[in-house]
Amino acid sequence: MLEFRTQGFQGYAVKYSPFFDNRLAVAASANYGLVGNGRLYVLELTANGIQCLKWYPTQDALYDVAHSEVHSNHLLTSSGDGSLRLYDVSLAPEFPIATFQEHSREAFSCSWNLTSKATFASSSWDGNVKIWNPERQQSLLTLPTHSCTYSTQWNPHTDGLLSAVCSDSHLRVWDLRTPASANNHLILQIPIHSAPNTINNARLQPTFPPSEALTHDWNKYRSEVLATAGVDRIIRTFDIRQPKGPVQLLQGHTYAVRKVAWSPHLPDLLLSASYDMTCRVWSDGGGAPGKPAAELGNMGRHTEFATGVDWCMFGNEGWAATCGWDERVCVWDVRAFMSG
């Protein structure tokens, strides 16, 4: 396991570059992101461990980072002041090349469009998801959720398909190809806390209270599948063709789940980071009938809330990076923590 200390700054998100197999970006914040500055780290894996290639100071806390899918040196951050900032690592100055300021509250996540690659999305505590083009100052589109929105993600298969999860315990899916009618591209709004699809016996139907959803991710192989997680500690998988309720419930975390990420290499593998300080590896069974969902491993090296995880798209299929409030970025092989 390789480690890097983000001294004085607590990690909020970590992302592997889609262009360089040795490059990582980390969004971190002083004072646990409550008050004070943020810092964007660009890290490189070298023969001498993890080295800091560059860092950028920011005025407010940083909560998320995304790599541009078109430009190998472009990085996007989302910040406590609601702004999104675009950095070019290949340039010398320590300030962003563009700033996008429309959100009125903390911008908690940002995601680059994985299919058309021309746009990116952001979500904020102000109850909006916004779509942007890096070449335009103003957003292209605002999709209201009317609820503190912790996470937005583009579907990696279908251009124009976008989703978000909110503190109102709902998963929303927008299809930007639909006409902008009264429902504003919204095609699905699934209560995350609804009873699982698989349970048909009404008498045994478990009930779940609504609970804030903090994170979600689209499966990289099964275009209709995504995973959500949040305050109620349960990771759920959904198939948007059966929008009634979750398909699988993955239980094990003992505190809220802050981040989930599907493997770019295997269709059933999922990594999660939690306030219980662990990062866990899960299989949802791959959607095959009769194949049970299971927790496959548990990485407990973080000594504070684990907040960010990402998989490396290159090389061996097990490499992942995690960050947390213990000011550490860990790069590790997931397979070393899998029990079998």
Binding site: D81, C148, P206, T207, V231
Partner: protein
């Protein structure tokens, strides 16, 4: 840096909701009901962060006898502001319950709020649901907060029975009302109808006296142990000595109705007040008293943001109607309704504060509901320290939450019978 000063607090409260231990899901069918749900803390709970009252003194004799209701209310508001340290500018609405004031006291109480230091942006209304006015005031505020109409409010109650008790509180009944039997019954004096009810429902004098004596004994003990200290805030008023006619300024600090040495035996010697062969007398009915009380309510998220101490939360309330001549049975009808709404059983409740309008009706309600007497009015009730009509309902909130907190218990119910035939009850959870 252009961060707003509240930014860090807002972010902290946002992130701390991620870690609420009670956000664990209920996976078992049916477990999403009852006590567990009631004890959960949610950011949108309506919580009480301060509940105080003036001392209660006997009408016409006590040290508050020369203080107008509005003044007493203003002093109590001042005390509420100083104890809770709430910024008066943040209080959006005040509801004051009162029964005897002409015109409902609407004008005086608005003036009292201004005199107490609330800005003109704080709205005020008065209401009258007879003896449950104080509770209704708190419930109104809680419901306004729940619906988002306001964020912070005060439920309160006041009664100066010294200055406003008398025939003036009710206007003449018209022929329409007089000629309708049930309507005309609304005018029958409380004592008379309670006497009849005690007779009909066979509540013996001995039972009433025993209940009344225990109310006194509990109150004496509570007063000695200082159990009222947290809810009573002293007021400084002018008082004219009836013997010397000398006016002086006094600071009133405790209830003067609580008398030591009262036993069922000593009460049995008092002559019945409403009928020769009756059972109700001054010693087993609520005292005629002056007093004011106030309860500060807001959303839990607001309380946490402002750093207010959370004493407990309001869960829900019920209001029911009963025949006017049987107004004393109000709690018997209202309590099961509120318990059902809350999804709990009577045994889940740790303390009941049931107003002792008359020992007769209170004893009957307890028996019919099958309540454990140890759980009812553990610090005594209106028989021992008085029932300033509009004030009592708000008084009970402070009495109840203080005692629940002191004893480490959780669930409380406050309830009372209401003149003209109604009952109210509310469920509260202490923290």
């Amino acid at each position: 840096m252009t961060q707003a000063p509240d930014k860090a607090k807002e972010r902290l409260s946002q992130i701390s909701t991620h870690l609420k231990p009670d956000s664990q899901p209920n996976v078992l069918p049916g477990s999403d009901m009852g006590k567990d749900v009631l004890l959960k803390k949610s950011p949108d709970d309506v919580v009480v962060t301060c509940a105080i009252r003036s001392p209660f003194t006997k009408a016409g004799k006590g040290q508050l006898k020369d203080t107008m209701a509005a003044d007493l209310l203003a002093y109590t508001f001042e005390n509420l502001i100083s104890k809770s340290k709430i910024d008066p500018n943040l209080v959006e609405d005040i509801v004051t319950g009162c029964v005897l004031a002409p015109g409902g006291g609407a004008t005086e109480y608005r003036a009292a709020a201004l005199a107490a230091g609330f800005p003109d942006t704080t709205a005020v209304k008065s209401l009258n649901r007879q003896c449950s006015s104080g509770l209704q005031a708190c419930v109104d505020i809680a419901n306004q907060i729940k619906t988002g109409m306001i964020e912070i409010g005060i439920g309160s109650g006041v009664e100066s029975m010294s200055t406003q008790y008398g025939p003036g509180a009710v206007t003449e009944f018209s022929d329409l009302l007089e000629n309708h039997m049930q309507a005309a019954n609304c005018k029958v004096p409380m004592g008379v109808l309670s006497e009849q009810m005690a007779k009909d429902r066979k509540v013996t004098r001995a039972d009433q006296d025993a209940f009344a004596a225990s109310s006194y004994q509990k109150a004496v003990k509570a007063q000695e142990q200082g159990l009222f200290d947290e809810e009573i805030m002293p007021v400084t008023v002018k008082y004219t000595n009836p013997k010397t006619d000398e006016e002086k300024t006094v600071t009133v600090t405790k209830d003067d109705g609580v008398r030591p040495g009262i036993t069922a035996e000593s009460l049995s010697k008092i002559r019945a007040a409403f009928a020769k062969d009756g059972s109700i007398h001054a010693g087993n009915a609520s005292q005629v008293t002056d007093g004011a009380s106030a309860v500060l309510l807001m959303k839990r998220s607001t309380a946490e943001r402002l750093g207010q101490t959370i004493l407990g939360k309001f869960v829900n309330a019920s209001v029911v109607g009963v025949p006017p001549l049987l107004m004393g049975i109000g709690p018997w009808k209202a309590i099961p309704v509120v318990l059902e709404k809350a999804g709990i059983s009577k045994d889940d409740v740790d303390i009941y504060e049931i107003n002792e309008a008359f020992a007769s009706q209170c004893v009957w309600c307890l028996k019919e509901l099958g309540l454990d007497e140890k759980k009812v009015n553990p610090k005594g009730g209106a028989i021992a320290f008085g029932h300033p009509l509009g004030c009592t309902g708000a008084r009970q909130v402070g009495t109840l939450l203080t005692e629940l907190r002191r004893t480490g218990q959780k669930i409380g119910v406050s309830s009372m019978c209401v003149g003209t035939g109604m009952g109210m009850a509310a469920v509260w959870v202490a923290e």
